[in-house]
Subunit: 357 residues, 2 copies
């Protein structure tokens, strides 16, 4: 991936305010040193810290043209819109970046490099078009061969899309490394790939090869790391994306799962499907895993972003009581609780129990 | 689909004997009048009836060259190998067909039209390369909007791949039509598409769009028919294909399911996963359906191909006793029992009960 050590401008037009700009927010959280500007005309003149509470004094500007003073060398398409298409109004922004000699890094379903106008412009200005969501050509059908014995694979699953599975996995990976463990993060979506520098956007893979793609990613990671934390996608309850979620679950063949859920969310976003209780959610994921290989949900990562701290602590305690599992919000309170829970369960064989707070 | 009213030669090299040539066998069963020859050098000189017990006196020959005397106008690639690639030795057979002015119809993952040598040869001889597995370009994310009220959607699910879900769905559709019902078959795999003339090979669709592709197929079929029978794919127990199966299930959003299983099969083909009892299989599919929309397994279609008739009748009775559901082998005994069971359940609201034999 062509995103290491860069000066990045992030196109996040109209998406910052409500945290819909998942890619933008994640890059600001985990790679702020590489970001020179964020484009969102509604918030122009402010800093990302003022708008989002992260990223310090990185300026928010109105257009690609306004970033040129900060000498960016690449434009990142910083949103993942429903369905993954390319909003037409962005075309001229992308062309402006290419004309200015910037690479363009995109996580859209729409492949920039396959667009005649973009491809021609990129050739003329000798810049790169990086479609991180493009699936590799050499994928295989899953073999169910299993990963290296001794490595432990933990897959993050969730109640819905965009509940914080990637962020939880990143925080837990970081915490594990701080605790001295050999830990790797497996990126399965465009934002994770932009952050990690490798991975496969599993929702972009052809059905027959999804599970095999996951198996390949996890098997390779398990050769390098003792602890492999796998970014989840979608939800088994999601009418549009459940197939991707199950392929990811069965292909990653985890030894344990961590369930991610925002306590204030009661329904699948944009669909009339109620999110069931935590015990039922856990049961759903454990049942589905067991169809091919049993794995327990060993801990809960609650996303308490929209709660006061006191409320968040109460929600965590309530979730622990309801499920009997250790829980925390790894963004707010760090991922150590989850690493310890997983290690006690998978290494020492102790049943997961609520953390001491 | 370019397969209506044709003179077809089917390439089934090395696959006839053990029924691995699913496409060949299905075309011979449901479109024998369109088949002029089958290519399988191991069985050359025999008839398809002698080799397979179907298709009458359609000759089996050794190569594409040997079919020319029967004036074929298209070559069908009649197998669906593991992973969907193109065996190299078939390249010269396909080129021989093109050179002879035949169209080539393929259900492989390997896209003939994207291969430079085939594309060039097809252009030179003005023949068509029809890749039935190619996904449409204009797919959408599923909306979960629901199909036309009054139409009933029945999805076929199975214990494994290649257990007869397509055949059961075709037999039930035929039986429903014979009983005077407005019934349509929704093809979701390459063979079904070759038989039906339309459909989408769902295992070839990109993850994010699988469920939406199914929703589109089923919604359109429910505009035209009161009874919509959906060909299933894979199995929820299959480590490589379960994601496709779940996307098909949730995208088709059925009102009821029919479970297909060969009583003699105890394990997922090529994978160390035991097939559980029928009641547990039913529970798995009903649980998974209920995550987004409840649907019952209302009947069983047993594939008794490898059993004597007496054995088959016993297996059917045993399955009925074990599950409390009506069961039959629709290929052997006709699909009426299943149509009646589904109609009683969905129209009259009567709980499914074993058929009278």
């Amino acid at each position: 991936m062509e995103t290491a050590s860069r000066r990045l401008a992030i196109l996040a037009e109209g998406t910052l305010e409500f945290h819909h700009g998942k890619t933008a927010v994640s890059l600001l959280r985990y790679r702020p040193e590489d970001i020179v500007a964020v484009i969102d005309s509604e918030n122009r003149g402010r800093t990302t810290d003022e708008v989002l509470g992260i990223g310090g004094d990185i300026p928010v500007v109105a257009s690609v043209d306004d970033t040129f003073a900060m000498r960016p060398d690449a434009l990142v398409i910083g949103i993942a819109p429903f369905g993954g298409g390319l909003p037409e109004q962005w075309r001229r922004e992308i062309l402006a970046a290419i004309d200015h000699g910037m690479d363009v890094i995109s996580g859209l379903h729409f492949m920039l490099a396959d667009d005649a106008e973009f491809a021609e412009a990129a050739r003329a200005h000798t810049v790169k078009l990086v479609d991180v969501r493009r699936a590799p050509e050499d994928l295989q059908v899953a073999t169910f061969a299993g990963h290296r014995p001794g490595a432990r694979v933990v897959t993050f699953v969730g109640s819905d899309c965009a509940v914080g599975k990637m962020t939880a996995a990143l925080e837990v990976t970081q915490a594990a490394r701080h605790m001295g463990l050999s830990a790797g993060f497996v990126a399965t979506g465009q934002t994770g790939i932009m952050l990690e520098g490798e991975g496969i956007a599993i929702d972009r893979v052809i059905g027959d090869f999804m599970s095999g793609a996951m198996e390949g990613l996890v098997t390779r990671a398990a050769e390098r790391y003792d602890w492999v934390f796998v970014e989840g996608q979608g939800s088994l309850l999601h009418p549009a994306y459940s197939g991707v979620t199950l392929a990811l679950l069965h292909g990653s063949a985890p030894d344990a799962m961590i369930l991610v859920h925002p306590p204030t969310q009661t329904q699948i976003d944009s669909y009339p499907i109620a999110i069931p209780s935590l015990p039922r959610l856990i049961r759903i994921y454990e049942d589905a895993a067991a169809w091919v290989k049993p794995a327990r949900v060993a801990a809960l990562a609650l996303n308490t972003r929209d709660m006061e701290e006191r409320e968040a602590r109460e929600a965590i305690r309530a979730a622990e009581e309801e499920t009997g599992l250790p829980a925390t919000d790894p963004v707010r309170f760090g991922g150590e609780v989850l690493v310890k829970a997983i290690a006690e369960y998978l290494v020492e064989g102790r049943a997961p129990t609520p953390a001491a707070h």
